[in-house]
């Protein structure tokens, strides 16, 4: 009897185990990348030129990045988009003093024209970025002031020599803008890449019809064997957000890599149900308020502090995230990333506490002390509706609750930076977007005006500058975190030089057929498309 029971029990157990194994195998088979198909995606902007070294817009990255590789890239599976991994570099070593970085390159990598990629190409590309010749624009040259020299001792080795140790250097080499070009072409004409394509990337160039589309097809000689999975891709240049949503809704496009609004997300989900998968992430873009320290009474830190204390960021986040592409309450780093402020510490900063009534009472007291009761001013805002307009409406309402009257002046987007640069404003909306969350890149904006022309608060603060240097040259993560926290406290609390509103929130509703793509806090990342595949083959 016992033996029979044992047999039954063993039978049921093995059947269950087999079923589980089969299900798991099915699931694994589902997740196995499938080759074929053309990925179609709208791009809301068009490339001003094809050269990412000189451009700033995602309009270049989204359609053109699949033709190129960098030396390093950010791990395409990492949701924080902060981990540098190898791309054309196979491995690297860093000297003990942190001043020398030696990269070994992959062998057998070919440009689309058939030429072999060597260290000369990497050196020439980085020379163009870091030490651009006269007449050549390098938009991110300032981020590489730490670089003393770039050397190519042999065909497969590149050496970067630094002036001082920089913990963020590897991240800066993983920049999605630093495409590797062919040295021979650059030597003949450093502007060639502004109008032509020749990279080592997973897709080769087919055509660009201005105002219409960009097409790439699978590179059969791609060095990463088995990739890419797609036969090709087609980027459609569509400026109107309604038309982009309509394209995804009508299943004429699979994905839009920049982001949609919450209303668009809800409408797509309601219309397409399971055919739509929504990927969301905090966005490495921050809307902030710059009080012009050169204008009275904004030179008085009591007034600035009162204005930040008036903001109920938590209630604002809850409500505005329903109607705008903003959500997270954050300090100077995207929540969830290595140097982000822990919530408990964030709450200690002015304007981040949970008791809004106490904060507003303190704000009114500060305004009274500063002789700025009944303050009236103009908020200059950028003429881009989303998310500038809803955030401005919220700010004006928040300030109204401490007796401050604010009029909004909207300046056309192209003219807006002129207003900011000239300081022709009382208080202005300012923003910063990055390709990765890295304190060196993110905090630089807040250093003194004399060091940094994009400081639109027009202030000088030596203490803040020193803290920036200290965090940048810190030897351990903990030491760096300590300085980042000190920097943040001085910037947002003690001096209230700037006021953070809410972190942008990236919403990517895409066709459920799209796999192998990870949303990150930056819309500049993960656009090489080498890991992307379509589960159902071509549907268009």
């Amino acid at each position: 009897m016992n033996a029979r029971r044992m047999t039954w029990f063993a039978g049921i157990l093995s059947a269950t185990a087999s079923l589980l194994l089969l299900t798991a195998a099915d699931a694994l088979a589902d997740e196995k990348p499938r080759s074929g198909g053309e990925l179609i995606f709208p791009v809301p902007s068009e490339p001003p030129s094809y050269d990412a070294h000189r451009e700033q817009t995602f309009g270049v990255i989204h359609p053109v990045a699949p033709h190129y590789n960098g030396l390093l890239r950010f791990d395409p599976t990492d949701p924080t988009g902060t981990k540098p991994v190898a791309d054309l570099a196979e491995s690297w070593t860093v000297s003990d003093d942190g001043l020398t970085y030696i990269f070994k390159l992959r062998k057998g990598v070919k440009f689309h024209d058939g030429a072999e990629m060597t260290s000369a190409d990497v050196k020439a590309s980085y020379d163009k970025i870091v030490f651009p010749p006269a007449g050549v624009v390098s938009d991110r040259k300032g981020q590489y002031t730490v670089v003393k020299a770039i050397e190519a001792p042999d065909a497969n080795t590149v050496v970067f020599r630094l002036k001082w140790p920089a913990v963020s250097f590897l991240a800066s080499l993983a920049s999605p803008w630093n495409w590797i070009y062919r040295a021979e072409i650059l030597a003949k004409d450093p502007h060639w890449y502004e109008t032509h394509i020749n990279g080592t990337g997973p897709f080769t160039f087919v055509e660009h019809v201005k105002g219409s589309h960009w097409v790439g097809k699978k590179n059969p000689n791609y060095w990463d064997k088995g990739k890419p999975y797609l036969d090709g891709y087609r980027a459609l240049f569509i400026k109107s957000s309604a038309a982009q949503v309509a394209a995804v809704r009508g299943e004429r496009a699979h994905i839009q890599f920049r982001g949609f609004t919450p209303a668009d997300r809800d409408a797509l989900k309601a219309a397409l149900g399971d055919k739509i998968t929504v990927a969301e992430s905090p966005w490495d873009c921050l809307l902030m308020v710059a009080p012009n320290h050169q204008k009275k009474p904004f030179g008085d830190k009591r007034v600035r502090r009162a204005l930040t204390l008036a903001l109920d960021r938590y209630a604002g986040s809850k409500a505005l995230s329903r109607i705008a592409i903003v959500k997270e309450v954050a300090g100077v780093q995207v929540p969830g990333t290595p140097y982000a402020t822990p919530p408990a510490e964030l709450e200690k900063l002015a304007g981040y506490g949970k008791d809004i009534n106490a904060a507003r009472a303190e704000a009114k007291k500060l305004l009274k002390e500063a002789g700025a009761e009944g303050l009236t001013f103009t908020l200059s805002n950028r003429g881009v509706p989303m998310p500038y307009e809803p955030v401005a409406v919220w700010l004006i309402d928040q300030w109204r609750q401490i007796g401050v009257t604010v009029k909004q002046e909207v300046v056309e987007a192209a003219a807006y930076y002129g207003v900011l640069k000239k300081g022709e404003f009382d208080i202005a909306m300012d923003f910063q977007c990055g390709y990765t969350v890295e304190p060196d890149l993110d905090l630089y904006k807040f250093t003194s005006r004399s060091k940094n022309p994009s400081n639109f608060g027009f202030y000088e603060d030596k203490v803040l500058d020193d803290l920036y240097e200290k965090q940048s040259r810190a030897k351990t993560v903990d030491e760096r975190k300590k300085y980042v926290r000190e920097f943040e406290k001085r910037l947002l609390d003690e001096e209230a030089h700037y006021m953070m509103t809410l972190q942008w929130h990236r919403i990517i509703p895409h066709s459920s057929k799209v796999h192998g793509w990870q949303v990150t806090p930056s819309h500049y990342l993960n656009n090489m498309l080498d890991t992307v595949w379509l589960s159902d083959g071509p549907s268009h």
Binding site: A319, P390, D397
Partner: protein
């Protein structure tokens, strides 16, 4: 004493007569032009609503209430709320102030400046007329909205600038119409008589010619009112008019109203209706006024 009493009684009679005459005119207008009367009624209602907005609006139009975001019409919010939880009815009521300030401001300045230019151009004739009319031709060759857009882009989008931007395209249109009327008046004997009496140009234009082009002036003025309201709404819709959080009908149609058109249609529906009704009313009233004042169209 008796003389003073007589004068007083004459004055009283005159005032009463005048009142009766106005009542008769209004009654006659209503009887002959019922559609115009309806238009006039809506215009009067709009003016009353705008003037009494703080007393009749159920909520502060700027007051954000996140707990009531995108609420459909109900007993608390008769016309629902917008994406910030602001009461749509209150914003429409206050929005009538913006519409009327811009509408009356732009229409009055545009029609008056156009009338003065038109009469002056007709009166002086010759080279003055030629130069003024060519300038008018240049301005009139631009579509109304394009010229207004260009003006806002140059001047910036404050309320006074918005009025100027809407006014400028209206001036040449009014000027052309008024000039054609003024050309015939210029030939009238009383104008020659005034000239012979040695009156200055300004006096002849202002005292003798302008009053005689009142009919086309009033017609242009009323038709401009509707156009100005529509232009203000269009510019605000395009983000070039008044700015948030000011309550304005065109502004209520943009942004979240478009985003949430499917789930919260009341956000766009009611301000859209307000714009349509106001423009329709001004146009009805203007058409009827033209019929009543233009002798060529008078039906008896």
């Amino acid at each position: 004493m008796s003389t003073a009493t007589d004068i007083a009684s004459v004055d009283t009679v005159t005032a009463a007569d005048r009142g009766r005459r106005w009542s008769a005119v209004v009654a006659d207008f209503c009887r002959r032009r019922p559609l115009g009367a309806i238009g006039a009624g809506v215009v009067v209602l709009m003016i009353v609503v705008a003037l009494t907005a703080p007393g009749i609006a159920p909520y502060d139009p700027l007051n954000i209430d996140f707990a009531a975001m995108l609420a459909p019409p109900d007993a608390a919010h008769w016309l629902g709320t917008d994406a910030y939880g602001r009461d749509v009815l209150s914003r429409i009521i206050y929005g009538s102030q913006t519409a009327l300030i811009v509408g009356f401001g732009a229409a009055f300045i545009g029609a008056t400046a156009g009338a003065v230019l038109g009469v002056g151009s007709a009166y002086f004739g010759g080279r003055t007329d030629l130069v003024v009319q060519r300038f008018m031709d240049i301005f009139i060759s631009f579509p109304l909205i394009i010229l207004a857009l260009a003006m806002v882009a140059i001047l910036g989008n404050t309320l006074p600038n918005l009025i100027i931007a809407i006014t400028v395209p209206m001036i040449p249109r009014c000027s052309l119409v008024i000039r054609s009327s003024a050309l015939s008046i210029r030939e009238m004997p009383y104008v020659d008589a005034a000239r012979a009496a040695g009156y200055g140009h300004a006096r002849i234009i202002l005292r003798h010619m302008l009053p005689n082009v009142m009919a086309p002036y009033l017609i242009m003025l009323t038709s401009f009112l509707g156009q100005a309201i529509l232009l203000e709404a269009s510019l605000s819709f395009l983000g070039l008019g008044v700015q948030e959080p000011t309550a304005a009908w065109g502004l209520m149609l943009r942004g979240a109203a478009v985003e949430f058109a499917e789930t919260a249609p009341w956000m766009a529906l009611f301000p859209g209706l307000a714009i349509s009704l106001a423009v329709f009313a001004f146009n009805l009233f203007g058409d009827s006024l033209r019929d009543a004042l233009d002798p060529k169209l008078r039906t008896g």
